[in-house]
């Protein structure tokens, strides 16, 4: 991998960020022959070499994967999602503070590879049900693209990253280019059969995930260890580190500069375009300027928008590309904190071997033009898994002690299914981020203020999730069916998106249909911040497809001399 960096060199392209979309931008631009500088605010993480915990056993960790009081107190957000085994890939709340107007779990990964090291790997396509939703419901603004604009890019991305999954022939959840699917276990098959028998327009299928069931050149297959967030020494799942960055580096066109905190994008009033990027070295706090013909901003939703907001000039006093005054607004995150669970008394002589790194999916069935009326817009899918209870559950509810207790503790318990609803969040103008006017971080950059809450539509959906989840489990003969609502704050699903939305009209949107800033044609934004609505599908696949598509457009425009 190229790691040297020379101050004097001017580049064809700069990519800000090295996560799931930054990696794609770098790969596409480098492969098209552009000398590309990738800026990353955190440290370098090299594939395999920098996964120090990947092969450790539970007993190799001092606290056996429990968080200490100190960690929970100093880093309440980080400790809620990570432990000793993967903490190094999550940002410390203490070191990188932000301001929460209402509780918002902002989960970040500041390193080469970003959150692509720790993502959930679910890969679902959006469809025209999603792209047409805003215009049909009269909510917010219309998407400037439709499924036909991205379907080929979905193909392109899926083939490269490697997605295992099953074709289901659903118009509202299009099939893709899949490796052989992972397999449902017996309780999941039982639930699938019950849903098929009892519910119209519903089905249960195996998750579509970027874990390889067949090896690709240099990567995989997945070894079913289910330790993905530590980094995979087998390259069993897709990350920037395992796939796109090596591909970009192989062209000889890539330069990576870690420890580069982007301060602003430099705008030239005469040329009416951006000329480069100003950064602060994370360690020395020295400022540098890098120039390039095009700039891709892929710093992750909230950080991307904060860079744009902080890039002020007399042409753009409120942030580059912010003629619409929409920049920072319409922040969304999926809700995934309500659902149902239950146990089943059957299948006592069946078990599984191996730790499949995914669960199942019940695709959206609300408001798909079929079925019963509901009191909310849009919909949700269920994601869940079935398993036999182990010591992790029994430690809290198994009575007694001694030899009998030990025997019961160490034998597989009842089958159980947990499933949660991943629901669409509407874009609300006042769910937003702004830059603090007086509070600054260690590098002198304004702290980010986040003001976000779920509203009535999301809460009505959560209620429906609990009811329908419980009914499906009861019909399948589950006992002790419980519904839950963890009431986790926004950000907890780590699908934060919006804040620099795409649209047809420059008066109401930041980006055009090519993810290009309307008024600054050599700046492209292709991470989650570009989203016009959230749909309910896990979004990374769409970000990657939009990135590859925008790179193709940007390079063809450069060739035509348009940018």
């Amino acid at each position: 991998m190229v790691n040297t960096f020379e101050k004097s060199v001017s580049y064809d392209a700069i990519v800000i960020g090295s996560g799931i979309t930054g990696g794609w931008a770098a790969k596409e631009l480098c492969e098209k022959g552009l000398k590309t500088l990738m800026l990353e605010r955190g440290r370098d993480v090299r594939h395999i070499k920098d996964y120090p915990t990947a092969n450790l056993n539970p007993w190799d960790f001092e606290y056996r994967l429990n968080n200490t009081n100190k960690e929970s107190t100093e880093n309440p957000i980080r400790s809620g999602t990570s432990d000793e085994s993967d903490r190094m890939f999550y940002v410390s709340d203490k070191e990188h503070p932000y301001i929460q107007h209402k509780p918002f779990n902002w989960i970040r990964g500041y390193q080469v590879g970003g959150k692509s090291l720790i993502w959930g790997r679910q890969c679902y396509r959006l469809s025209d049900l999603d792209f047409e939703a805003n215009i049909k419901d009269g909510v917010s603004i219309d998407w400037p693209i439709r499924y036909k604009d991205v379907s080929g890019w979905y193909d392109y991305v899926e083939r490269f990253i490697g997605v295992s999954g099953k074709h289901e022939n659903l118009p509202y959840l299009p099939d893709g280019c899949y490796q052989p699917p992972m397999e449902l276990n017996c309780i999941e098959k039982h639930l699938a059969a019950s849903i098929k028998k009892n519910e119209e327009h519903r089905l249960l299928t195996i998750a579509r995930v970027a874990n390889l069931t067949r090896g690709l050149t240099d990567r995989g297959p997945c070894q079913n260890r289910n330790l993905c967030t530590r980094g995979c020494p087998y390259g069993g799942y897709f990350s920037s580190n395992s796939a796109t960055i090596p591909a970009a580096a192989a062209t000889g066109n890539l330069t990576i500069r870690p420890f580069s905190v982007v301060k602003e994008i430099i705008y030239d009033e005469k040329l009416q375009k951006a000329t480069g990027v100003r950064i602060i070295d994370l360690n020395t706090r020295e400022e540098f300027e890098f120039n390039a013909r095009i700039i891709f901003v892929n710093a992750s939703t909230i950080n991307t928008t904060s860079i744009l907001l902080n890039s002020k000039s007399s042409r753009f006093p409120n942030g580059i590309g912010n003629d619409s005054e929409q920049l920072g607004h319409n922040l969304m995150d999926h809700h995934s904190s309500s659902g149902a669970s239950g146990t089943h008394e059957g299948f006592k002589d069946e078990y599984y071997k191996g730790r499949r790194p995914c669960g199942f999916l019940i695709p959206r069935f609300r408001n798909i033009g079929k079925g019963e009326k509901v009191d909310f817009l849009r919909g949700y899918n269920f994601q869940g898994r079935g398993e036999r209870e182990g010591w992790q559950e029994k430690k809290n509810n198994l009575k007694g002690f001694g030899a009998t207790f030990k025997d019961q503790l160490t034998k597989p318990g009842s089958w159980s299914v947990w499933m949660g609803g991943w629901g669409e969040c509407l874009p609300y103008f006042d769910n937003k981020i702004v830059l603090s006017e007086n509070k600054k971080d260690k590098w002198g950059l304004p702290l980010i203020e986040i003001d976000f809450s779920f509203r009535e539509n999301e809460h009505l959906m959560m209620k429906d999730i609990q009811n329908t989840g419980a009914i499906m489990l009861e019909k399948a003969g589950f006992k002790d069916v419980n519904t839950f609502s963890y009431n986790t704050p926004g950000g907890a699903t780590v699908h934060e998106m919006g804040t620099a939305r795409m649209g047809n009209d420059p008066k109401t949107s930041v980006l055009n249909k090519h993810n290009q800033i309307h008024a600054v044609r050599n700046v492209f934004v292709t991470d989650g911040s570009c989203m016009t609505s959230s749909a309910c599908q896990n979004p990374s696949l769409t970000y990657m497809a939009l990135t590859a598509r925008a790179c193709d457009y940007a390079v063809s425009e450069m060739k035509k001399g348009n940018i």
């Binding site: 056993n57 539970p58 007993w59 001092e62 606290y63 056996r64 994967l65 429990n66 968080n67 200490t68 009081n69 100190k70 992972m182 397999e183 449902l184 276990n185 017996c186 098959k189 070894q223 079913n224 260890r225 289910n226 002589d349 069946e350 078990y351 599984y352 071997k353 191996g354 730790r355 499949r356 398993e387 036999r388 182990g390 010591w391 992790q392 029994k394 430690k395 809290n396 009575k399 007694g400 002690f401 001694g402 030899a403 207790f405 030990k406 025997d407 503790l409 160490t410 034998k411 597989p412 318990g413």
Partner: protein, 190 residues
């Protein structure tokens, strides 16, 4: 317990938390925990853990050194209120054993030890809602914590995971449905 009784008990616990009458209790749960006492009771902790998960045809808690894990968890990973509950619970257990059996826990037979633990397990609140509320206001229950840490410590130890349970370090493949017999152990990790 009927609905009305549950409500009265919830009100009672809340009252303890806010009233002057509860000050003693309040001080007892928020004071700086006596961690020296905790570490001095390492062998007692080891024996209690061994009563919970004894050596049978597979190793027990003591040989897996679960007491070291329990002490570490109470010291570094347990909130102050619960730390105090744990330490007080341990002292109560010593006193209870002396008063009822005229000897230390370590000197008790397996039957006597199990009777002592039964007493402490039965002290734990059985009503789910009240248990949750108590936990929230007064911290975790001593015996519940002890048992939970013992199980975690054992099942994540090398001996516990590989001998007491089935540990599959590198599964390679996933077999979705396999038929098992009576002897099948649970997987140690998920």
């Amino acid at each position: 317990m009927n609905r009305r009784q549950v409500i009265y008990r919830i009100l009672g616990i809340s009252a303890i938390a806010v009233s002057g009458a509860g000050f003693w209790k309040y001080w007892n749960i928020y004071k700086k925990p006596d961690l020296l006492y905790l570490t001095s009771k390492k062998s007692l902790i080891a024996e209690i853990a061994e009563t919970i998960i004894p050596t049978t045809d597979t190793p027990g808690a003591k040989i897996a050194k679960v007491e070291d894990f329990i002490i570490k968890m109470v010291r570094d990973c347990t909130a102050t209120k619960s730390q105090n509950n744990f330490i007080k619970g341990l002292a109560d257990l010593e006193t209870y054993t002396e008063e009822n059996y005229n000897k230390t826990y370590v000197a008790c037979t397996v039957k006597e030890r199990e009777a002592v633990l039964t007493h402490f397990e039965n002290l734990e609140e059985s009503h789910y809602l009240i248990r949750k509320l108590k936990q929230k206001i007064l911290g975790d229950n001593f015996f519940h914590m002890f048992k939970s840490y013992t199980v975690t410590g054992y099942c994540t130890s090398e001996l516990g995971a590989t001998k007491g349970l089935s540990y599959d370090y590198l599964p390679s493949t996933f077999e979705a449905c396999i038929t098992i017999g009576d002897k099948q152990k649970s997987w140690a990790t998920k």
